[in-house]
């Protein structure tokens, strides 16, 4: 029986234990989630009441302008909001924390395949996030070219001179390396370290989601890393890879090339974040319907199909870019084919609920929330795939609403489902279900109010990334909606306080959690909460899939653990 390292530093800070690293990721992610959320509130304030001083915090944040957002500060707000949310909030929570915590436990391993690489991965993320924070305080302020870093706005120092811009790219590059190292561990651990009997057909769906996500990262993140280095060269070494026209120092490169490289990664990124959520939802629906995941194989194959397709549809972000229109048509057709596998696993989710015995626990509520908001996000994606219509709504709030339904709402609910579900295992204490329900109800309400409002203003042509819609005559009728979205956003922000309260209070004095509070079948729930230093005293042996609920022959409960030898005769997976 291994003991944890004695010294504080080796045990809690520079630990190679996947569970400690997961908690480090989780706390970092939650911190940045709060920061990105506050930035969103500043953005919504500016849009609701343009150039008005911000109450309470305005004088502190923008002393130069009497507490109002300035035209120079506004791009920094939305750039940092996007960059922080995607790379330093959602990625650390869903890939960093969920991946690190669940993978070794669920495959029955003592740790990740490469624990030291794992530690390095977190600390690179930490370094990247510190660089990002420093960038706020350098002369010229933080980056303001949008989280998509479109060249040549990003790549020419004539139009974006500040060092904050370089630091943003550097921070992202470090985060990319960190994610790649994490992905290497996830892929290797899931594929090579599975316990005896844990065949690929018996993996929890969460792990499939994490695996596909890691594969996408491994394949496409390096492409954007290369592009980011080229942007840095353009900025500081006088090259012109992505600069053309009068700004270019010599004959110049190609502006569109950057967009291809960026979206070559950028579109898979959507799936990188959503695939683990889909997997988690598949598992949670099964656990809390007390019923095997319906069509497990079809779900796994659908997710694989989407993983493959996601790599070849990036062009639908570029219908107005001046890209060859025939290529655009090909991208449109490829894009709509994604709805086939999506529909299949959606139907499988419904099939899991069908004739189940549904328990509406807090993680289940959030999982159902994902189903609801992802239905909206997915279906509105179809509007964006239609070339002619997309050209009208491209770069408007319709697109913002769409990707917030998929990337913010679904992924956020997924992150909360993960936290509420795994909290007892991670910390050995239970969260308050009452506060959890309240948190879900309010979040659900306000979140839909915010993002559906974005559809409305977007359809009216409200461009994204503009600081003041009242500049335009045609947007005058939309101002009331901006006010509405602003207050709904504040409501959404305030309801997250319930979560923070619940999280901290449960951490300190929540009820002690049993080893398996949810009566779940997968391997992680066979060990104590929190698990021992190296998870399993002996290598577990697996006899069935993770979703053996509602087994008819059983009299002592309705489910089988994956380690239950009776599964050899009773289980069908």
């Amino acid at each position: 029986m291994a003991h944890p390292p004695r010294s504080f530093w080796r045990r809690y800070v520079f630990s190679t234990n996947h569970k400690v690293i997961a908690v480090q990721y989780l706390l970092t992610g939650i911190l940045f989630l709060a920061m990105g959320g506050l930035m969103a509130l500043l953005i919504r304030w500016q849009l609701a009441y343009p150039w008005q001083p911000i109450p309470l915090v305005g004088k502190l944040l923008f002393p130069g302008s009497g507490g109002a957002v300035t035209p120079e500060a506004y791009p920094m707000l939305f750039t940092m909001h996007g960059g922080i949310m995607v790379f330093f909030a959602i990625t650390p929570i869903l890939l960093g924390a969920m991946g690190n915590y669940t993978i070794p436990l669920e495959v029955g391993a003592r740790d990740m395949a490469f624990p030291r690489l794992n530690m390095l991965s977190y600390w690179l993320l930490f370094l990247g996030s510190m660089i990002l924070l420093v960038s706020f305080f350098v002369p010229g302020g933080a980056a303001g070219f949008g989280w998509t870093i479109y060249a040549p706005l990003s790549s020419s120092t004539e139009v974006s001179p500040g060092w904050g811009q370089d630091l943003f790219i550097l921070g992202l590059a470090l985060d990319a390396v960190s994610i790649l190292m994490g992905g290497l561990n996830y892929i290797t651990t899931i594929m090579q370290l599975r316990a005896p009997g844990l065949t690929l057909r018996r993996l929890p769906l969460t792990l499939w989601g994490l695996f596909y996500s890691a594969v996408l990262n491994t394949l496409w993140l390096p492409i954007v890393a290369a592009a980011l280095f080229m942007v840095l060269c353009d900025r500081r070494l006088g090259t012109a890879f992505f600069v053309a026209g009068p700004l270019a120092p010599h004959s110049g490169g190609q502006v569109l090339l950057y967009q291809h490289l960026f979206w070559g990664f950028g579109h898979p990124e959507v799936y990188i974040l959503i695939l683990p959520v889909w997997g988690l939802v598949g598992d949670l629906l099964s656990v809390f319907s007390r019923k095997p995941a319906f069509g497990y194989k079809a779900t796994v194959v659908s997710m694989l199909t989407i993983t493959i397709l996601s790599g070849i549809v990036w062009g639908h972000h570029m219908f107005t870019s001046g890209m060859n229109p025939l290529v655009g048509k090909a991208f449109m057709i490829l894009t709509i084919t994604i709805s086939v596998p999506t529909a299949i696993f959606f139907l499988n989710w419904l099939g899991t609920l069908w004739r189940g015995a549904i328990r509406l626990t807090v993680p289940m509520l959030f999982a159902l929330g994902v189903v609801f908001v992802f239905a909206i996000g997915g279906l509105t994606g179809l509007f964006n795939a239609l070339q002619v219509f997309d050209i009208y709504i491209h770069d408007t709030y319709f697109v913002v609403g769409h990707f917030h339904y998929t990337l913010a709402a679904s992924v956020l609910f997924g992150a909360y489902a993960f936290i509420y579900y795994w909290f007892p295992k991670i910390f050995g204490r239970q969260m308050s279900p009452l506060l959890g329900r309240l948190h879900f109800g309010l979040s659900f309400l306000f979140l839909n109010a915010v993002f559906s409002g974005m559809f409305v203003v977007g359809l009216h042509g409200h461009m994204r990334r503009i600081a003041d819609a009242t500049t335009y005559e045609f947007l005058k009728p939309m101002q009331a909606w901006n006010v509405w979205i602003g207050w709904a956003a504040l409501g959404l922000g305030l309801s997250q306080l319930l979560f923070f309260h619940n999280f901290v209070r449960s951490l300190l004095k929540g009820k002690t959690a049993p080893a398996n509070p949810w009566q779940a079948g997968s391997l992680a729930w066979t060990v104590s909460s929190p698990p021992p230093e190296h998870n399993f005293e002996a290598r577990p042996r697996v006899f069935c899939g993770p979703h053996e609920y509602g087994v008819p022959e059983l009299t002592d409960g309705d489910w089988l653990s994956q380690t239950d030898p009776r599964a050899a005769t009773l289980a069908k997976s």
Binding site: Y74, V159, G295, G322, L350, Q387, D395, M463, F474, A480
Partner: protein, 247 residues
């Protein structure tokens, strides 16, 4: 600004000959996906109530891996794909042919070159000789005047970063990319003054990169305006390009 103004029209007023195709596509997509959404949410709600956990209730033990289940899910998915996706893609294809696929001939159309910079729209007309980048060109800033009921072809490039030429009342936009020439065409059928917006983030002044599209009542009114502009002095010849190729 009151809550009553929230009930405004979904789209800004359509002044183009083709915008109705875009709006129609939206309503069709909304109808089709609305049905799918209602079906999903309906099933979800029904299942949550009907199959909620009650004492003694045990779920139906099935893995849903049978060929019948697979046939059902993939069959339904395929039906959804054909009825919604393919249907919409077809209508998009048809609309594309009109909105983007049939540029007017050079003879009948008014040709305009636009070269935006941070944060203004430089607009150039060919002038009497019909040739661009000559001394009789007419250049304006942020003022795009066009005659009603005549096709207009715009070619775009950019002086510095990417901008996006967005005409919300005509339901079209196209990026202006440095080092490239992109183009779009349209025809306005209602006179008046409308907004030109920049739809691609181009720097801190992005939000105020507003131009004005002035649709003149008649060709005469347009020509009169154009003649007035030439009096202001020689146009800026540092930009502009010769028209060639297909448009």
């Amino acid at each position: 600004m009151s809550l009553t103004s929230m009930g405004a029209e979904v789209f800004p007023p359509d002044i183009s000959t083709t915008g109705y195709l875009v709006d129609r596509l939206f309503w069709l997509a909304t109808g089709l996906t609305g049905v799918a959404f209602a079906a999903v949410v309906g099933a979800l709600g029904y299942f949550l109530v009907r199959y909620r956990a009650r004492p003694g209730r045990r779920a139906f033990y099935t893995h849903g891996n049978s060929p019948r289940a697979l046939l059902l899910t993939s069959g339904l998915a395929l039906v959804v794909f054909l009825l919604i996706d393919v249907n919409l893609a077809y209508h998009d294809h048809v609309a594309w042919a009109v909105v983007w696929g049939a540029p007017p001939s050079a003879r009948e159309a008014l040709q305009v070159e636009i070269m935006p910079e941070q944060f203004a729209w430089n607009i150039r007309y060919a002038g009497p000789d019909g040739q661009f980048r000559t001394a009789d060109d007419v250049t304006t800033i942020n003022q795009l005047h066009i005659p009603a009921n005549r096709p207009v072809v715009v070619q775009l490039s950019s002086k510095d970063v990417i901008h996006s030429f967005f005409l919300p009342n005509l339901r079209i936009k196209m990026d202006a990319v440095p080092g490239m020439v992109t183009s779009l065409y349209f025809q306005a059928k209602r006179s008046g003054t409308y907004d030109i917006a920049c739809a691609e983030h181009c720097g801190f002044g992005h939000y105020r990169m507003r131009g004005f599209l002035v649709v003149e009542e008649s060709a005469e009114a347009f020509n009169a305006w154009l003649a007035q502009q030439t009096d202001e002095g020689p146009p800026d010849l540092s930009w502009g390009w010769q028209w060639g190729g297909k448009t």
